[in-house]
Amino acid sequence: MRDHDTRHSEAGPPDEMLLIDVRHGSESALRSLYERYAALVFTVALRIVGDRDLAQEVLQDVFFRCWERAETFRSERGQLRGWLIGIARNRAVDVLRSSQHQARLREQGSWALDGARERSSEADPLDRLALRQAVRTALDALPMVQRQTIELAYYGGMTQSEIAEATATPLGTVKTRIRDGMQRLRSLLRPMVDPEHESPGDVVDEMGQLHG
């Protein structure tokens, strides 16, 4: 029962099994998923909305939605982690666009991102650290304009037209930056997505060589 093939099998029950129990009313199972993914969901929300209180609201909404709508998760479309991040991103972007949020930002004068502090890496499993390092290395490998454009789209919730306007860049250039940047990221991170393609150690080495 603990030998299901998931990325989290070493840390407890598989996500899929926990979600099944959430569907059937187990608050304990929801708590287990919360302990597994709350920090990640909160991190994404905080990055998008830039306010700890609003990010907490997003976090609460995400896990309440998980409780209410667990049956809408489709494993064939990806992993639970991605599903939760997707909900968090969509909810946070909605908040970002709300008039209430705009007013709060005006009061604060800037995005309050100082709430995000690096946690001790000792608590993270080695494969998570390897993934984190691989993603950071891959993002660092992108030309700055490509990285900024992708981050404005993903974390800023902006359309390509909005990005073009905000950065005073032709729309066609924005599209090219998105496509080229995503293609490059996909290529660099492919071994992390598909471990059989190449071992994680090889990925870090390869990217280290690329950017060393």
């Binding site: 029962m1 099994m17 926990l18 099944i20 129990d21 569907r23 059937h24 009313g25 187990s26 608050e27 304990s28 199972a29 708590r31 919360y34 920090a39 909160f42 991190t43 994404v44 905080l46 990055r47 990010a55 907490q56 976090l59 609460q60 896990f63 309440f64 409780w67 209410e68 049956e71 479309r77 990806g78 992993q79 982690r81 991605g82 991040i85 997707g86 709430g115 995000a116 502090r117 690096e118 946690r119 998570r128 993934l131 984190r132 993603v135 950071r136 992708i150 789209a153 993903y154 390509q160 599209k175 998105i178 496509r179 995503m182 293609q183 996909r186 991170l189 492919r190 992390m192 997505v193």
Partner: protein, 251 residues
């Protein structure tokens, strides 16, 4: 006519950047194009990794309390009309998943059409034995959802135990027929993965079974239940893969 691939739009689709008309067109193509579907999936997997690069923030302590309070408030509202023992047996949720619905139907059929062996195990001719487990626990029975492992053809089942875990009852549905000389066996699983055998059982021609379970005592320390196919009469240790498995949560 071969439709042109939409590869140049896949990353935009994954990021949610396509306008409605374009999104609908690209999604329609992806549904019928395995190579573009695989590429889109790869882009989505890539995007899901992006948050890993962020400085990780600790979730506020108060968040879980707020979530738990909302969940309990919602459950109280959703409990209306869930007074039957079957409703409680399946968790009291308003919407049942298809697999559990099948089990529910199988349970009803099983309760109506007891076979001789099940009647003997239950020492009665109705559902009072299982109901009794809930009754003794004052509504705080432990319910374990058993799900099929990937690739297994079984549908699922539920084990209910009294609050003190001294007694238990099992209902399963959609279990594959076993060859002669084999029977199903229940295992209680400890955190270290060691297993203690409980009952062996057979299923009826519809793949269903409902019976009382001999919960190993003391029952503390078990965090899961599994069912395997074993030689008739049972085995001291599992010899086959899990057909069904589920986790025991503290109520």
């Amino acid at each position: 006519m071969v439709e042109a691939h939409e590869r140049e739009h896949l990353s935009e689709l994954a990021l949610g950047l396509l306008e409605d008309a374009e999104r609908v067109r690209v999604e329609a193509h992806v549904r019928g194009c395995p190579s573009c579907a695989a590429e889109l999936s790869a882009y989505r997997d890539t995007i899901e990794m992006l948050p890993e690069a962020l400085p990780s923030a600790q979730a506020p302590e108060a968040a879980w309390k707020a979530i738990s309070a909302r969940v309990r408030k919602r459950e109280r509202r959703g409990r209306a009309g869930a007074g039957s023992w079957l409703g409680r047996f399946f968790g009291g949720r308003a919407l049942l998943q298809p697999a559990l619905l099948v089990v529910l139907v199988a349970t009803v059929i099983g309760l109506i059409g007891w076979n001789a062996s099940l009647q003997a195990r239950l020492s009665g001719n109705d559902d009072s034995a299982l109901y009794h487990l809930f009754d003794k626990s004052g509504g705080r029975a432990t319910v374990v959802t058993l799900v099929a492992k990937p690739g297994a053809s079984a549908v699922g089942g539920r084990l209910v135990m009294t609050q003190d875990r001294a007694e238990g009852g099992l209902v399963v549905g959609g279990m594959p027929a076993l060859p002669a000389g084999q029977s199903y066996e229940i295992w209680f699983v400890r955190a270290d993965q060691s297993r203690v055998p409980a009952n062996t059982f057979a299923v009826d021609p519809q793949g269903q079974a409902v019976f009382l379970v001999d919960v190993p005592q003391p029952a503390d320390g078990f965090d899961g239940v599994a069912i395997t196919a074993e030689p008739s009469g049972g085995s001291p240790t599992p010899t086959g893969p899990d057909v069904l498995a589920g986790l025991i949560y503290q109520n």
